[in-house]
Amino acid sequence: MTILEQFQQWLLNYWPSWAAYLVPALIAFIIIVIIVLVMVLMFIYMERRIIGRFQIRLGPNRAGPFGILQPVADAIKVLIKEDIVPIRADRWVHYWAPIITFFPALMIFAVIPWGQGAIFADLNIGILYVVAISSVGAIGIFMAGWGSNNKFSLVAGMRTIAQMVSYEIPLVLSIGGVLIIAGSLSMMDIVEAQNVPFFLLQPLGFVIFFIAAASEINRSPFDLLEAESEIVTGYHTEYSGMKFALFFFAEYTHAFALSTIAATLFLGGWRFALLPGPIWFFIKVLLVFIVLLWMRSTLPRVRVDQLMGFAWKFLFPLALINLFITATEAIIWPGFPWWLLFLNFAIAALLIVLWSGLFPVPGEGVSFKRYGRGIAKGMALTFKHLFRHPITVQYPEQRLTPARRFRGYQLVWYEDQCNGCRACARACPVSIIDIETRKGEEKGLVVEKLEVDFGRCLFCGLCVEACPVQALFMSRDYEKASYRREALVMNKEQFIAAPDKRSAYAYPDLEDEMPPQTLLAPPKEGR
């Protein structure tokens, strides 16, 4: 009896039956949608921040405290963009593709148990429903690839079909082991059956499930559908605005759905000591998602033929063997005592080592040297970087001091020093210095007109080097932007009015009066 059903029963005493069933269901639906949306926004935030830290970057931290409103800003930005439909695209298919991708992902949450009895519908086909519904999303992605009239999208569409169909099989088979132990398809029953979390009893099944599911939702290293370096962004290359937002949302909803399913099937759902159930559930979900992020920030992408080979040669036989072993255990030790986990871990390790030998690196032949050791090393390194100080800076607030010899965006000119010799104009490779002089009373030549077009300047510093009288300096400024090219042309008056920010370029004597340069790795003390 779920909480929802109890509520409905209670309401039946007061309300007509249709209202008593419909209204609580509607409320529960809205609550679940809100939970999903909030969690998806949080996932987007986490993805951007945590991958930032893995990559020793700060990550987005502008919108709101710690950048917590960044996903909102992203959403607003995407939503106000123009909705473009490519010419000669299949408009009808193009329109429906994001919707068909998004709604199956949302529908999965109908059978996710958030806590004791907190489930929308405790279907007795629970996990079968999840598997069936999530296979519908492939059609949406394929429709996007087909309907965009774009060859990159079409390639992504072809990859979708191959990938989704291949990885669904090990996914379902790996769930099979769980079902044998739990003896039920219902998600509630599966959680109730986990006195020992199933990732201990089914280590191999858990690994296969995790890999196959990561592939189902196109997470790295299986993100071939949107492989940016190969097919631009794959199936949503031609999408913008609201439709793109739906794809984006669908991706994270899928990721959230997968994390919840992994937490429910293998990590014991809401069950654990001390804290209330839903809190444990969300902690487990976040852990699963962080592992996904960790993988994304470390691993390169597999190639499409390797993707298929991995599914069929590695995951599929292992999943079958796992199912067979679990079934055998079910006959010999029907109660699945906890000490089986040692046996199962040993079997899993043995099988993975054996199969890694059958999956050779080209050129090395069959060898048992590698069994994910390199991957583990890389993951360890990225994990170490998670705690290193970020190397990026908060730019406008935190400014770096440029070098003392910095060749900045404009020249600093001293009128009283200049003798109008035009050495700078002659030295300039792009001939942008325009000087006109006349005979003066006190000095020999007086500069009448000085115009420099910084829109064409190379900032090579040859003019400063050519100046014989210390009248021309590079500047230490580095911020200059203008919407009009004319604004980049400086004349004599502007030179005189400009702030004196000369740099020591070509004048090493001036270096002592400059502030020291900010270095990413400053020299150690006492040298």
Binding site: A227, T298, R301, V361, G374, A403, R404, L458, C460, A466
Partner: protein, 366 residues
């Protein structure tokens, strides 16, 4: 498995992994490449023709804009050619500093190449950012000596534009001390990664004979097992004074080209360390007139750039401007074998093969 009609896809000039504005017209059977036609010229600025109207000194900033990821070595190659043409002696200290700069530039350029190659392999920006961290440190050093982070314009005919500042040597010392550790970290990150091995081993194999026939040079050539490095084969500057190895690999696949660059970085660190120890005091520049008029004649000066043999061919007619100014850019010549190694492979392979060749469109199109 299925036979399909071939489709033709235009990769670029706007594409995330074509290193600028490179374009490939690829004919696919499914995802297998039947034919590939590189198209370039989108970044053509006519630098060779422009050079004919500039003085010899004024050309130096233009060489910055050839391979903008390795401006120092471009400067180096050019000034060496001019010095050969005009027979100018360079002070000892300047030679050493040039070598230090060139080797640092090689490290920076290789970091960029390897980072982007791994990024194109799908390692979502992480190796790139780790490698950029060290590249930034090198750029900090360059900024310290010449005031710019990308277009250095540091070398001059007859020496350098100016001596290094005081704080340069301690900063360089720290960098050189730490760099081998960071290279170890890159290796730990991905060198043994099973996915990377499966993606790169045996992909895009360039046999040594073909490499020589295509006139390929640099790490790409050495990855195929040909021990040819101009620093040894035709020592220029003062490279004969340093003790270093020319690493080679055997297979000539993408993995070897990736390993080559890591190995070369280690050697570069060695060279810089030796040059730092031997660095003499003294002048860094012999005075050369701004309107240098070299004697009539022609010269071809070449160095081992990060991407391969970078050569400058100059013809002087006795005037302040070169009569002919030609650049032997390694990237465009290394591209000649691109089609041959890609045909028959998958789309994803072509992308990483392109990444492993390491092109820079500023140099390819000039």
């Amino acid at each position: 498995m299925f036979k399909t009609e071939p489709i033709m896809i235009n990769f670029g000039p706007q594409h995330p992994s074509t290193h600028g504005v490179f374009r490939m017209r690829i004919t696919f059977d499914g995802e297998r490449i039947l034919d590939l036609e590189p198209v370039f010229g989108y970044l053509h600025r006519g630098i060779e023709k422009l050079g004919e109207s500039k003085t010899y000194t004024q050309i130096i900033p233009y060489t910055d804009r050839l391979d903008y990821l390795a401006s120092m070595t471009n400067n180096h190659a050019y000034v060496l050619a001019v010095e050969k043409l005009a027979e100018i002696e360079v002070p000892e200290r300047a030679e050493y500093l040039r070598v230090i700069m060139a080797e640092l530039m090689r490290i920076a350029s290789h970091l960029m190449t390897v980072g982007f190659m791994l990024n194109e392999m799908g390692a979502f920006f992480t190796p790139l950012l780790y490698m950029w961290r060290e590249r930034e440190k090198i750029l900090d050093l360059f900024e310290m000596v010449c005031g710019q982070r990308l277009t250095y314009n540091y070398m001059r005919i007859g020496g350098l534009s100016q001596d290094i500042p005081e704080e340069f040597m301690p900063a360089l010392e720290r960098f050189i001390e730490e760099m081998p550790g960071f290279i170890d970290e890159y290796d730990q990150l991905l060198a043994e990664n099973e996915i990377l091995l499966a993606r790169t081993k045996g992909v895009g194999i360039l046999p040594p004979e073909q490499a020589i026939n295509c006139s390929v040079s640099g790490p790409v050539l050495r990855a195929s097992g040909v021990q040819w490095d101009l620093r040894r084969a035709d020592p220029y500057s003062i490279y004969d004074r340093f003790d270093f190895e020319i690493p080679t690999c055997q297979n000539g696949d993408v993995y070897d080209r990736y390993r080559m660059r890591i190995l070369e970085m280690r050697q570069s660190v060695r060279i810089v360390k030796q040059a730092m120890d031997q660095l003499p005091l003294g002048e860094v520049r012999t005075k050369v007139s701004a309107t240098l008029r070299p004697p009539k004649g022609e010269v071809y000066g070449h160095i081992e750039g990060p991407k391969g043999e970078l050569g400058f061919y100059l013809v002087s007619d006795g005037s302040p401007n070169p009569y002919r100014f030609h650049i032997r850019a390694p990237a465009i010549i290394n591209l000649t074998m691109f089609r041959d190694v890609c045909v028959g492979r998958l789309l994803a392979d072509a992308i990483i093969i392109l990444g492993s060749i390491d092109i820079c469109m500023g140099e390819v199109d000039r």
